[in-house]
């Protein structure tokens, strides 16, 4: 197909000048055109949440947005969470609380939780569980994901 357009995806502060078709989803562009494979694709129809990234600070399903729609916007992915060797409190909390097993859904959960807590730091525990129902995990039974996010929320509020 010939309708490719030049766009710039700004992922974790880094500009990626890419040329993509209109139909290219943001998820595919991040992974295949920009080589940032930490964002995973689990269903491509907006249910599982594995591809959740932050676009201008909002957690969105990257499989339900076209790459061209994110042209010039600030995108954050799991690769950008840590500050050098220093992990984000959410990453640390997932490790300390065993909030992951196979790790496939993990980037989506991390970005969802970080995105929501940055926007709504004082969100209630109950609403947090509701937010976490956005994404699917097949390994953990969610027990330790909830524990990890609650622990990180406390730390994020303090900082």
């Amino acid at each position: 197909m010939s309708d490719k357009t030049d766009i710039t995806l700004i992922i974790n502060g880094q500009s990626h000048a890419i040329r993509v078709e209109s139909r290219r989803t943001l998820a595919d562009a991040i992974r295949e055109d920009c080589g940032q494979t930490g964002t995973h694709i689990g269903c491509e129809h907006g249910v599982c949440g594995a591809c959740t990234v932050l676009v201008n600070g909002e957690p969105v399903r990257a499989c339900l947005m076209f790459a061209q729609q994110a042209d010039g916007k600030q995108i954050r992915t799991v690769e950008g969470l840590a500050n050098g060797d220093e992990m984000h409190p959410m990453q640390r909390a997932f490790m300390e609380n065993h909030g992951l097993q196979c790790g496939f859904c993990t980037p989506g959960f991390l970005m969802l939780a970080v995105g929501v807590l940055e926007r709504e730091p004082d969100i209630s525990d109950r609403d947090l569980v509701d937010v976490l129902s956005s994404n699917l995990c097949r390994c953990t039974g969610y027990q330790n994901i909830i524990k990890a996010v609650r622990a990180a929320a406390v730390e994020m509020r303090q900082s």
Partner: protein, 784 residues
Amino acid sequence: MTVHTKGSGTTWVGRSIRRLEDPALVTGRGRFTADMPATHWVRFVRSSVAAGTIENITAPERAGIVTAKDLAKLKPIRPMLSKFNYVAVGQPILADGVVRFTGESIAAVYAPSKDQAEDIADQVEVEISEGAPLIDAMDALAEGAPLVHADTKHNVIVEGRIATPGFEDVWKTAHKVLHVEARSHRQNATPMETRAGHAAYDGSTGRVTLTCTTQMPHLTRTAVCDILGIPESDLRVVAPDVGGGFGQKMSLAPEYVLLVWLARKLRSSVAWTEDRRENLIASFHSRDQHVQLEGAFDKSGKLLALRGDIVANIGAYSCFPTTCGVEPLMALAELPGPYDVRAYDCRSRGVMTNTCPMAPYRGVSRPVITFVLERLMDKAAAAFGIEPTELRRRNLIDKFPYTSATGLVFDDGSYKETMEMAIKAIDLDAFRKRQKIARDAGRYLGIGFATFSERTGYGSPAFAARGMEITPGFETVYLTIDPSGFVEARIGSSPHGQGLRTSLAQIIADEIGIDPEFIKVVHGDTDRSPYGWGTFASRSLVLSGGASLLAAQKIRAKLLKMASHFLEAAPEDITLQSGSAHVIGTDRSVTIASMARAAYHQTHIFKGEIEPGLTETGTYDPSGTFSNACHVAIVEVDIETGRVEMEKFLVVEDAGLIINPMIADGQVHGGVAQGIGNALLEEIIYDETGNILTSTLADFLPPTTHEIPEIELHHVETLTGNSITKAKGLGEGGAIGAPAAVISAINDALSPFGISIDEMPATPQRIRAALRSSGKLPSNGKLA
């Protein structure tokens, strides 16, 4: 580093250390198959009908396409059993003239991108002359039913029967006979990562590297090479990070064979990433069973005899390597569960239909048979007018070793103890009071108990009993301390989320005195790891753990011998700890790193008394060990809508010695969540034409945070001689017990209506229909 320390803290085993796997996975540096670039992307053209004959395939001009005629030299997938009236059927890599289920691959197209491959696949026209599909196993059993495979005499291709001598005589003595007719509908394991494969041809060696989402890399290599007729040395199979498997990634995917064949043909790299729809319709299914069960009890409620008839819908083909016998034969051998019953008569059949092939899924049959057996026990308790737990108390095995009516030998366990602990922890008496108060107010709470055994860590003897041509079993570990003093354990298991790298490092660390962070466990690469069977059947910790221990014991012996040279002390006076050998009661020590260096670079100092190098091999092939647990579910049923709200879930688990409590708990949590999903939500539904109506995650419904309640865990640690690490497996137990507990709780809640929910999943629609059929629902929804 340590989050939670159990016991004395002087050993690594027993401590909840953080997983060594995690740093890469939380930072986006995990490497999954779909992350790899490829020159060609494959898209499969799949059948839109369940049964028929392919008349014609038309592809757009110049399209890269492969059909069955290109693969004429390839053997079909044709796993074998030598027992149980097994009839071998072949599965072609691409449908060869006949399609047998919706979603079966008919052709493979390839293009430079996934999008283009899908565009081309869209334009491939397949003309199929449709036949009459068989969807339900009962229809396929019927006299005169069409044959799914024309070269078989009937659709039953595996049939087993176990009947104990004198069964009828025992049966006649029954005081009460209870009957359950149960149905378990079809489910899909649904790992979050779909299947994916990437085959890359290396021009200089002619070898292909197949990177794929498999749970058994070595067996994948064997199978692909057998089918293609090439030496195993020409193929390397790599399982990189794998995003969950739950059994679905254990069986050979015909798609991988195609990828290797195509990479060799194109002398290039080719890749395929399964999409979610393909996963739901054409990856493996499971749990589609009809079970009839009758129990004969004496006056005291003791189970005297059990009679069963199991029909498993095994789909259109037989999966490799377990064969389609895996569900029916597992059910046949393990149906009596943890109850002491001496008379047993059961028939179990695997029936072909025009549906997606069945393959192992976490628990394999046991979630189904546990649910049915526990329904029987609950019904018996009601008939005897006693608490369901009291009936179980009268029947659970408590003397070990116990040899079951089917010949299984149960090692030490805690069947009664775990139940008593569960009763206490959940406070059954308090619940009954609360239940009564709620009921008076028109609210229906229920409690359900499931007590069960989980056969784990079994080696080749257990598999041999099934008559498998390919008999899995042993595991091997190559353990090396390299000249730099770092440790590498190369294993044949292939973990994909179980944290095995961490648990094995803990076991090895305790033997050789080197901290786990310096121990690298290497798996999932046939070039690097010893031939092994992979990760499935709750086996890896027992088998690879045992093999790791054996190898580490040899390394330990050698290190002590070397240390005795360095320290001029007897080996028995030396300990290994924190990276050094110490003479007990002195300050004399030598680092293991310096001894490792010497083992390679200063071998002359040992004067030929110690062999050069520091590599040892451990192989372990045990008979197996039974874990056990008691699960308790508390639910509330909304009688107006049929909705089930999970209030609480409690597990008392006995998996022997717990190596890493944090990881063990995580396994139970995950299993229970899948069990709850299986019990309430998840169902693959075919319409009468064989089309799947649940091909999206908006229709096939794994649970979310909302549907999973708090799960409370308790452990009992019964140490067994059947596992040299004393650890038992526990990967499947959560999923085995949870459906039974949940459905039992639903039935307990609805006991005033005199109905029995014997179907899984127990959807709101089914519950509401049963309630309506009770005739006890007044029109305004309140109980009369």
